[in-house]
Symmetry: D3
Subunit: 188 residues, 6 copies
């Protein structure tokens, strides 16, 4: 798995969630996780989560840390499982890295990370004809969010460092999953 932190800031509006985003826009070829900072505002036209569409949910924030994962030739079940693992890895990392939690615990619930009733993150996993894709984003600030949120600022963490550490950890997890499929004998 390749990783890339994209230096340039730009907003996420849902149009980034298409196959080969990392390759065509950032020359990252193959299974990948890329990340950048920017606002978030997703129009209903580019909202793929049916639950959000039914609720006509507002999904936005003034500054978020975005991740897009793409893995080729897998089914959506695998894509959602990877999304959950990313959330789990993020929770563990943030818990250990933040000095601002004062004994409280971040909690992962499905693809969400919470501190009590404050929501840190948004995420969706979907399928293109050639790959499965995950968008995962966590608030850098709480400005412009439509619900009660937690942010990396609250956690006193640097977005860039969080991004690079999480991508490295997810790459390690993904690579080790692939290896685990290649070293086991089948059963009857």
């Amino acid at each position: 798995m390749k990783t890339l932190f994209i230096e340039k800031k730009f907003p996420y509006d849902g149009t980034q969630l298409h196959s080969l985003f990392a390759y065509l826009d950032h020359k990252v070829l193959g299974p990948s996780i890329v990340s950048w900072q920017g606002a978030c505002s997703i129009s209903f036209d580019h909202m793929v989560d049916g639950e959000d569409l039914l609720e006509q949910a507002e999904i936005k924030g003034d500054e978020m840390l975005h991740f897009i994962i793409e893995v080729f030739d897998r089914d959506l079940f695998s894509g959602v499982a990877l999304q959950r693992l990313f959330a789990s890895i993020a929770r563990d990392y943030l818990q250990a890295a933040s000095s601002a939690l004062a004994g409280k615990s971040l909690v992962r619930d499905g693809d969400d990370i919470y501190l009590d009733d404050r929501k840190l993150s948004i995420s969706i996993a979907t399928k293109s004809p050639v790959s499965v894709m995950v968008h995962f984003a966590m608030n850098i600030t709480n400005d412009g969010t439509p619900v009660k949120t937690l942010s990396l600022q609250d956690l006193k963490l640097d977005p860039r460092k969080v991004s690079e550490d999480l991508m490295a950890k997810f790459k390690k997890e993904y690579d080790s999953i692939v290896v685990a499929t290649q070293k086991v004998r089948p059963v009857s």
Copy 2:
């Protein structure tokens, strides 16, 4: 996903890791997680982890809490991802449930759970022609283990309650993953 705690104690020797174990031995039909208590001792004939086979590893313990997960019609990649999620769920639960950790953190590394250098668990994910299967087991005592281990006794936790809570949590995760594959629009 169905869950079952099997009251009867019996040892795990590797022969349980075959398709339809839950159905043929315990009448649990469909995707399932079943659990029981018993010794662990896996002969090389029934060891499926190639890494363990190459190392001629001893895998055993006098009393462990065993889980077998079976999910039909999925690839091994999904099976390994589910195994990792189970380990993550177990870590989060044990961390929150144990009064004996004294501020220390359990750490998940791949499919393993550690407290410092003490290993709580063993696990393997494999494939049958009709399903993917996971064996996951955590020490109830440290007796009879060939390496430095952690046990549920150290964590002052009741195996039966741990078993039922973890199966309920994993069932919730699995069911929500399935739902997540049925409520998202595809992308191009």
Copy 3:
């Protein structure tokens, strides 16, 4: 499998045959069969059957009983097989339920149901990136159909009851197929 009879009448014009129709338009999540009454008129833009496109076939009727089946994460072969099973179930049910057949037999031929040369139904099975989908519709009246047709009026059957009975029967078949994939030992 979920079932829903949609009370509101509306025409089928081909645009309903897209992934998540049942969920996004009618809040029915997961594998499903939904049904409603309405006219049928499919433009060439939304016609997916290549055979009809090549023949520039007119596909219409003033009032039909529509069904849309969606099953996730299956290949098109399975989708077509399910379509044929639905036609078979419909034939068996209509044969038994109708008092107007006077000893004559309805015949299923592929995805069509006939009484002699009178065609009761139209159908197509196709694939979205996340699911397989079937549209199946039977004439409620013979008005507005471009060929010699049979209708539920001819069979003296109430569309609403036919709809609910068929959906219940198809749900039973689908659920039992899934079970049948989870209770059999593989062979060599």
Copy 4:
């Protein structure tokens, strides 16, 4: 799909249900349905239906008409759907062909065919590593069956003709399903 009626009579004992049976034993290559007459008696060692195993069911008959279907590179869901379609085709054919039904209707229920409470057939669908396989058999006589049965003798039908007609009809269905997967435009 190839079809073959095997002239030689021989018993079915479960060992025939393995991949390439038609090719290695009867030189029929590719997707196939083959058929023969013979006794039926399946030992628990070669019984693959978990439900029968749990019930320790006796599966036997003194003379049955056997069919083995093999289709390569499909999932078990497709295999079970094909099994159900075969049962549906058999029901329709026998209903139309038999002069002995006196206005009564044969009923298909899943993979079984009944006349009232008399069972005509047994069947199982399973998976080999390279194919899905179906065994379907109907009683030629009621001798030696452990339950209340119906037979082709009761229906006054010639087994050889039933076999060849059913294989021709199933071949037509299978071939048309394959065609139906190759002439439809995908949807979004």
Copy 5:
């Protein structure tokens, strides 16, 4: 596999690379290879090769011999492997058929065919929701090509004969691959 040489000349502009092209435009149903002569000029809107898009490559020629292969229900890996086999078959055929090579050897490198630094062909393999598709084209003349090229004129070969011979050879290869998947016993 069906083959068709399309008599009418028409340009390839990338819009031909969609599912069911052979069926909807030329009534060729099922896995197929079709071929025709015509100019080549692909706009960026219809260019699917990400590498070409990143390089903003010009892909054109005044007259080329085009092939479109479509195979249903396969993954993209298979599609690319078939593309490479087609290139290999073309190389072998052209080497043997041309009297103009004077002891020099054509070389296949991935999906390209070269004579020294002169490029004979262009190709791409991609995926539709129902099939994998390959476009392969070789220069009939060197006119209008943006790089140093080789053409069938250089090789003193008749495009129509090349087309029909290559389609026959590829059909033989494809059909024998399918057979090879249906006559082998699985291993453990």
Copy 6:
């Protein structure tokens, strides 16, 4: 893809064709091609080619250059396509490398390589529950072969060099196929 030339000579008797051979016997993990020199003699028990079994073919040779390819999580169609590509790569390489061909051409026909009626190689592609596997072997001498053969001795080529060059070329092809599945936009 990993490559390994195994220094130690040992006979191929068919038992080597099982999943994880490269990993469990030679510590090569992941998709791989491994090669060694040794006699060949395959008993009917370990013969997987149904055609050979039907013909009761003798498959043997006193000294051959063996290759085993294993690729995980692919279907058998891909496995056979890779086998054909390996044969094509071998043909091209041997043609260019041998000084003994005197203007004659080696010909690939399916998975075989011939010089006129002399057969250089044997091969089979099959499926394990976790991978596809190919055995490909070419005669080092013509001793002990049951048919008219060609050998690397005839071609005046060193087996070890042939082995390492072919593995390097096949690795390049395989790796580039994987890349080609990750850089193309899907079509409709």
